[in-house]
């Protein structure tokens, strides 16, 4: 007897749409059981995770701050994934963007430069992110190299490059050898939206990006091409769409957005370049992209939701003494259910009984 996955003849669109909600529901049920096993009050724990962060302005701000890079990166990734181009290296593009933008900030430090600094940093970061993403894209188109591998491997290159810079040439001369640049000048930092808070202009930019990509996908021919190439490659070929060109385009856009997110993070909440500027945003964004069904609005919601789990996890640690590991388990379970639900929409389990008489015939 064997258990196999068999493709369903037809798929339900409604189910496809609500599948993330089912996944979230199942995650919550699992977490309630887990909390109970840990001897924590499940209702209070869920309250700390999901409700408490939504009840005060400070936490809402922090959720937005946390969601900003996630949403920006995930939006770019969704374009890639829709076009069947698998960019796994957004983390690296994020870092390279941060490095490129920081270059201007570091070089102009302490000098009397004009307000062009920040815009120049943003543009350069996006350009660098795009160029960095083009490496795996071109390798795929020209040489057929797997973009999954090349883009992933370039993450480590970017990581070590950043490491080298902040330990060597860009190190803060007054930083006692700690691997970090000096704090950026105020003119080279992303302005805050609320005085005394941490919410910065980047959050607004993320919203604009969501809107722009929603228009690109929904209202333009390019957007249509991206969706067709991914969903029906054969039809796209007959339609005369150039799949290779779209790989290049989507990689470039997603790299640019990741790089943009990188410099906004560095010139925003962090304020200087250092290793560890990303607690894995580029990878978490992959979860966000799929949780949001590769749909711009969905990604916005998913990004906020994942950010909520970070902030809520911290509050649960403070209020309920729930270990941080539980938050990580929680995020893992969520991804597991999202993938499981997706699989079960497209496939179903089937029991296959092999013919026993034949297999035993020899004996």
């Amino acid at each position: 007897m064997q258990l196999v996955l068999e493709k369903r003849a037809e798929r339900s669109n409604t189910i496809a749409l609500i599948s993330p909600l089912i996944a979230i529901g199942l995650t919550i049920v699992t977490m309630v059981i887990l909390f109970a096993i840990l001897g924590k009050n499940p209702l209070l724990a869920l309250h700390a995770y999901f409700i408490a962060p939504l009840t005060d302005g400070y936490s809402l701000q922090e959720i937005a701050v946390k969601a900003t890079p996630l949403v920006m990166i995930a939006i770019g990734l969704s374009l890639c994934y829709l076009a069947n181009a698998w960019n796994i290296g957004a983390e690296g593009q994020f870092l390279i963007g941060a490095v490129a933008g920081s270059w201007i900030a570091v070089k102009t430090q302490g000098t009397d430069v004009g307000p062009w600094v920040l815009p120049a940093m943003l543009v350069l970061a996006a350009a660098a992110g795009a160029l960095y993403a083009l490496i795996p894209a071109i390798c795929k188109v020209k040489f057929g190299a797997s973009e999954i591998l090349t883009s992933l491997m370039l993450v480590y290159v970017a990581d070590l490059f950043l490491d080298y810079l902040v330990r060597g040439p860009w190190r803060d001369p007054h930083g006692f050898n700690f691997p970090t640049t000096a704090e950026f000048d105020p003119i080279a930092t992303v302005p805050l939206l609320i005085e005394g808070g941490r919410l910065h202009l980047g959050a607004m930019i993320a919203l604009l990006v969501v809107a722009a990509v929603a228009i690109l996908l929904g209202r333009t021919i390019k957007g249509f091409e991206i969706r067709v190439v991914g969903a029906a490659p054969r039809a796209a070929r007959f339609g005369g769409f150039n799949a290779n060109q779209l790989v290049i385009l989507t990689f470039a856009i997603s790299g640019a957005l990741a790089g943009f997110a990188g410099i906004i993070e560095v010139a925003g909440p962090v304020g200087h370049l250092q290793p560890g500027i990303s607690p894995g945003y580029g990878f978490t964004a992959i979860i966000v992209a799929f949780l949001g069904r590769l749909n711009p609005l969905g990604i916005l919601i998913a990004g906020l939701f994942v950010a909520l789990t970070f902030i809520g996890g911290e509050q649960a640690q403070i209020a309920m003494k729930i270990p941080l590991d539980v938050t990580k388990v929680f995020q893992g379970i969520l991804l597991f259910y999202v993938l499981a639900c997706d699989s079960l929409i497209l496939y179903r389990f089937k029991l296959v009984f092999p013919n026993r008489q034949v297999t035993r015939g020899a004996g």
Binding site: N41, L43, L44, H47, Y58, E62, V65, D163, R167, G168, R171, F176, N177, F178, P179, E183, G196, R198, E265, P269, V270, G271, Q274, P275, G276, I277, P279, I311, E314, Q315, Q317, I318, A319, K321, P323, L324, D325
Partner: protein, 358 residues
């Protein structure tokens, strides 16, 4: 059924809030930890101190900690979360929390902060650290006596002064025993990563080192040294159970008395921003028992410890010769002054390595 569930939910929530009010008159003390509390090294020792604090003053205070907080953009939020949860005294226990702690401290002048191992202070932000280089000096003496190959293996974390001064103190001590002693240094570029630490230990042993010392936080290197039949020093905590035949001694971080003292000051309303840099005499750290060594080496170590504690022996006694062969300026009379040690950014002569970034 549904109603009873709702009632249950309301009851549970109410029970929670009642619990919260009864705790409200206690002083809330918060801790930010770099690693998991189970790292058996740095963070573990801070948490032991927190537990000692609770044992001593548990009826007057309530403690909360956040573990595994990276030294990056998230730290500021984590510290602020503790402030917003009502903590009035907050210990941030790693160098990399310096700027985030300062940012939050400036924003909340009525909350007091204690930052470990940093150098930036504020009227509501103290710093505290220990003169671990004293312990490193003792380790250097032992290492030089115990090493057969004459090569020591040193796992560094970050090339900040605290770590560099530890390497220098080790070598200055070792050179008094064996002038030709060598040290191999590997920078793990992390405080806590058992995998990397173990790899570093393997690489050092492969390069001929037979005594392993570390400035990282996990017992991984001790385990590798034990497997390979070499000797090693623990770090931060008692690691002898990871190498019963391997550990020579260990520098034990003993933060408990300091935490209790600072919390008592806070309770009494006498807390002031201070810079505390305690040595062996102040019990900010201690040496684990000297094990796996002959009696004469043990006696030498104990004598050195007594001399340092009594202030008779200074690890950075002048003249100190730098890597370039020139003597280092002696600002503290017959030894380097605290500022020179706190900002140490050079290797002493005899270290065959280049300081990263130099």
């Amino acid at each position: 059924m549904r109603k009873s569930l709702l009632a249950l939910a309301a009851g549970l929530l109410l029970a929670g809030s009642v619990g919260a009010t009864s705790a409200a008159d206690k002083l809330k003390v918060g801790f930010i930890y770099l690693g998991p509390i189970g790292d058996l090294g740095w963070t573990y020792q801070h948490d032991l101190a927190r537990q000692a604090l609770v044992k001593e003053l548990g009826d007057k205070i309530e403690t909360t900690y956040l573990e595994n907080v990276p030294e990056g953009p998230d730290a500021e939020r984590s510290i602020e979360q503790l402030v917003r949860a009502g903590n009035k005294l907050i210990f941030t226990t790693s160098f990399g929390y310096m700027d985030p702690t300062l940012k939050v401290a400036k924003k909340y002048p009525n909350v007091h902060f204690e930052h470990a191992t940093g150098y930036k202070r504020n009227p509501n932000m103290s710093t505290y650290s220990a003169k671990w280089y004293q312990g490193r000096y003792i380790q250097g003496l032992i290492a030089a006596k115990m090493s057969k190959s004459g090569v020591l293996g040193y796992i560094g974390s970050f090339p900040i002064p605290e770590v560099v001064s530890g390497i220098n103190a080790t070598m200055l001590a070792a050179q008094t025993i064996n002038p030709n002693i060598k040290v191999k240094i590997i920078w793990a570029n992390t405080w806590f990563d058992p995998g990397k630490e173990a790899d570093a230990a393997k690489a050092l042993i492969d390069q001929g080192a037979d005594v392993i010392m570390q400035h990282t936080d996990s017992p991984a290197a001790m385990q590798i040294a034990s497997e390979r039949g070499k000797l090693a020093f623990g770090q931060d905590s008692e690691m002898i159970k990871f190498g019963p035949k391997t550990q020579l001694t260990s520098i034990l971080d003993t933060w408990g008395p300091y935490y209790i003292e600072r919390v008592k000051a806070e309770l009494a309303g006498t807390w002031k921003s201070e810079d505390t840099w305690g040595g062996l005499d102040s019990h900010m750290f201690a040496m684990a028992p000297y094990t796996n060594m002959p009696d004469d080496v043990k006696k030498m170590a104990e004598d050195a410890q007594a001399a340092i504690t009594a202030g008779k022996l200074h690890p950075f006694k002048c003249p100190i010769i730098g890597q370039d062969g020139k003597p280092v300026e002696c600002k503290g009379g017959d030894h380097l002054d605290d500022g020179q040690i706190l900002g140490m950014n050079f290797y002493v002569k005899g270290i065959d390595d280049k300081l990263p970034g130099k």
